[in-house]
């Protein structure tokens, strides 16, 4: 640092005592600031390549364009505010800036029967997918070991040629059955197109996997009502609603549609306010809205439903369910007296080994209420052709030779005993269409990144949420930012390039969506009136993994309000979203009953270890008065090992200690059937971040400083 007196041309400098006065300080600020300005700032904007805009835009004037939220199976219609702006893009293999129409905000589409102009917090954050800094901007080819995450750039032509060659090889060897397509169970014409292509190629139907799958309920509904489908509830006209574990206002099924209808039920009509009772072992977001919360032993909710329906006596089940006789009798009286009444089941009660019984028992209760297909009850929306899918087990058992993975991350969302990663390692050729590198796409040989939903044609035919059939298809809201391609169009291009091109394929996904439907709408599956009672569901005791003496707690993973099954942990807005019940964010936590924690000497934020027969995880404890003393709960979604800068190595993954118990013979994972033990391993490690609480996440540099406690 030069002598200060040299800086001042008029000879004045710091005072003789070494202190400077205010005037001198300001002058010095000006000098050093100007110097910095001169040295630091040339005009680098001139070096940027600016591309010619593709659209004619009126600057500063917004348009709202419709699209569909892709984040869950609800298929909410959204509108995106599109305004011109400068975007960093790839055009013709070159990076640069372009002025283009950019989606800036998502809202619910008021004309959509599902979302009704509303949108949940996850849907609001969906805008961040398009602009995510870690989004893949061009196709990638694996260079390192499987799962190492080392990829090199490749052109689309090379990538498509490679996939086509592999498929041609299989076709030449008459081994088309060795192609498998793994995706999420979404009802859409896109999946229909995929299934059509697979069938024409000679492969088996697509494999569908989702952690919080509703397949058990669909199966039960097929048996009870003849509809292999999720029901739609007419909450608006119901006078009595009883929910068995279904977080229908938060994460389960069509939460936006439910919330809107629930609001109208509670506040939107004259007369006495309808009653809502929630049965669960943990106070969820939905339970917190209820007039009455009934705590029930995990796996016995179906018994309570049967008792309310009058098929069981209260005395007979009180011991198994843990619900007092008087409560059961009162609920039964209320349910019968306050029609129309409807019962909802979803989430944890179905994720026990006896899930089919539980669902059948609640269906029985709805039949007893005589509200199936009636106002204030449940109904099944007419469905378009339903695409048959296969369960995940088929990929694990019969290792395919070519595996195409579309928008699903089973390495993260399956229990370790399924050994999905090992199964993937045995597959010789894996193509992923993921727009991000995650635990599953890191195992792929080729990644052909999909457009974001705002950049491509999208469609949805949701199976519930609206009593009338709903199906929607929309064009892109904005032009693609990067060198990505719509997966449906990539598949069509591959199909055209085969040695024996598939017949009857549309030229593009856009053409497919715009072509007139062949066939027409399938009739409503509920033609048979099923208000007549079917055979009483027979009680099956739930089976739990782990001995109760060694593992005294029920382990209840639950769908995170922010991340759902973890597929949204890469969106920083959702990381920042406080959990509605605990206010925790950016972290994992274990919910444990307050009094039980006191018994065990566990305090808020203490690090505890949760151990099952499958392994253990460590996370801070959150003391919750609203959870059963013999249960601990953890949100699913954190604990990614490789999923963008925001989710990687943050928190722990409760799925990693789940036992591979299945729901009856369905092959679905009973994710609520694991027992655990809990042990305090240390004091608070600052990883429990509560909104507005005393705890705050501290950056690394703050650790070890003396003044931060």
């Amino acid at each position: 640092m030069p002598d200060v007196s040299l800086l001042m041309a008029d000879g004045r400098g710091p005072k003789a005592d070494g202190h400077m006065d205010r005037r001198f300080f300001i002058k010095l600020t000006a000098i050093s600031g100007t110097t910095a300005a001169l040295t630091a700032c040339g005009n680098p904007e001139n070096q940027i390549v600016r591309f010619i805009p593709e659209d004619d835009l009126v600057p500063g004037v917004a348009t709202w364009k419709p699209s569909i939220c892709p984040l869950c199976s609800a298929g909410c219609g959204v509108i995106a505010r599109v305004l011109e702006g400068d975007a960093e893009v790839f055009r013709n293999g070159q990076a640069g800036v372009i002025r283009m129409g950019l989606a800036k905000k998502l809202e619910g589409n008021p004309d959509d029967p599902i979302s009704q102009g509303k949108l949940c917090a996850r849907g609001q954050a969906a805008i961040q997918i398009t602009y995510h800094p870690d989004r893949l901007d061009k196709p990638k080819k694996r260079t390192g070991e499987r799962g190492s995450g080392q990829f090199a750039d490749i052109t689309w032509d090379e990538a498509i040629k490679e996939v086509t060659a592999k498929l041609n090889e299989l076709a030449a060897a008459k081994d088309q059955q060795s192609v498998a397509y793994l995706t999420k169970p979404r009802r859409s014409r896109r999946l229909e197109l995929v299934a059509d292509m697979l069938q024409k190629f000679g492969a088996k139907p697509p494999v569908a996997y989702e952690f919080f799958s509703d397949e058990v309920l669909r199966r039960a509904n097929a048996a009870s009502f003849g509809a292999h489908q999720l029901p739609t509830f007419d909450l608006e006209n119901a006078r009595y609603v009883i929910s068995f574990g279904a977080d229908f206002l938060g994460t389960w099924n069509s939460a936006v549609a439910h919330s809107a209808a629930y609001g109208r039920m509670r506040q939107g009509r004259p007369g006495p306010r309808p009653k809502f009772v929630h049965v669960d072992a943990r106070l969820t977001q939905t339970a917190a809205n209820a007039d009455e919360f009934v705590a029930c032993r995990p796996g016995t909710e179906g018994l309570l439903a049967l008792a309310i329906a009058g098929d069981e006596t209260a005395e007979n089940i009180t011991e198994r369910t843990g619900v007092p006789v008087a409560t059961i009798q009162r609920l039964a009286r209320e349910f019968a007296a306050h029609g129309p009444a409807v019962a909802i089941i979803g989430g944890a009660p179905l994720a026990h080994s006896n899930g089919l019984f539980q669902a059948a028992a609640v269906n029985r209760l709805n039949q007893a209420a005589k509200t199936v297909n009636q106002p204030g009850g449940l109904a099944f929306a007419p469905q378009q052709t339903v695409v048959p899918t296969r369960p995940m087990k088929e990929i694990l058992d019969a290792a395919p030779k070519v595996l195409l993975i579309d928008d699903v991350n089973p390495v993260f969302t399956s229990p370790p005993a399924w050994k999905v990663a090992d199964a993937l390692r045995r597959v010789p050729f894996i193509v992923s269409f993921a727009p991000f590198i995650d635990e599953t796409s890191a195992m792929a040989d080729l990644i052909l990144p999909d457009h974001s939903f705002l950049e491509s044609w999208v469609d949805a035919a949701p199976e519930s949420g609206s009593i009338k059939a709903a199906a929607s298809a929309f064009g892109p809201v904005m032009r693609p930012l990067y060198d990505t391609r719509s997966t449906a169009d990539v598949l069509l291009e591959i199909a055209r390039g085969l040695a024996a091109p598939l017949e009857g394929m549309p030229t593009s996904f856009e053409a497919y969506l715009n072509a007139e439907r062949r066939g027409g709408t399938a009739a409503a599956a509920t033609s048979a009136s099923r208000n007549a009672p079917v055979a009483d569901p027979a009680w099956v005791a739930p089976v739990f993994d782990g001995d109760a003496s060694q593992y005294p707690f029920h382990f209840m993973p639950y769908a995170s309000t922010a991340f759902y099954d973890g597929s949204l942990a890469h969106l920083p807005w959702l990381q920042e979203l406080p959990d509605p019940m605990t206010s925790a964010m950016w972290s994992s936590w274990v919910e444990i009953n307050e009094r039980k924690a006191e018994e065990l000497g566990i305090h808020q934020g203490d690090v505890v270890e949760i151990t099952s027969t499958q392994g253990s995880v460590r996370a801070p404890a959150f003391l919750n008065p609203g959870i059963a003393p013999d249960a601990v709960a953890m949100p699913v979604g954190q604990g990614h090992t490789n999923f963008t800068r925001y989710a990687t190595n943050r928190g722990v993954n409760p799925i990693s200690i789940l036992a591979p118990i299945t729901v009856g013979d369905t092959g679905e994972l009973a994710w609520s059937a694991t027992r655990v033990r809990i042990a305090r391993v240390g004091g608070p490690d600052d990883s429990l971040v509560l909104f507005g609480g005393a705890t705050r996440e501290r950056p690394e540099w703050a650790h070890g400083r003396g003044d931060d406690h």
Binding site: M1, S32, A36, A37, P44, P53, P59, A95
Partner: protein, 198 residues
Amino acid sequence: MLLAGLLLAATAACELTSPGQPKWNDPSVGKSRWGTDPVFTPARASFGQAFREFLGRRPTEVDQPFPFSHQIHLSKGAQCIDCHSGVESGPRAGLPSINTCMICHSQIATDRPLIMQITEMQAKGVDLNWNRVYSYFPESHVRFEHAPHIRAKVECSTCHGNQAEQTVARRAVDMDMAFCVNCHKQKQASNDCLTCHY
């Protein structure tokens, strides 16, 4: 201590690169020595920019990628709105893309070196990266809208000077708040704070 801090800030500013440069997937670009992103604050790219804005200083002449002459075009009968086409319909008048130039210049004066230069740029898909001459600092919270002013028959030259005398546009009028308020008074337009600041 304070002096050391100031000089540290100055050195830091030298290390920060400007935003807007493509930087994805390139770990070599755009991190300061503390691993922070190339922003001084969320609103400002560098210390220098913040400092200039703090002093309210801005150049009257702005470097442009191309020596466009307003004078020639206006003398040939072109109107402002022909190129600044958003002026009647939206808040911003807009700066024309190279496609706008080529509407006429695919036919007119194609033999001139500068026109040949932009023809070549268009063929490559590269646009002219104009720099703005007039704008408000974010702190002023001014939301200026062109369209209502055009509807009120305010001449372009009232705020932008006589462009027929200019080649490359430079800031001929200093648009401070007194300038706006005086005109609003004369024209009996609202001088409510929320008319412009929101």
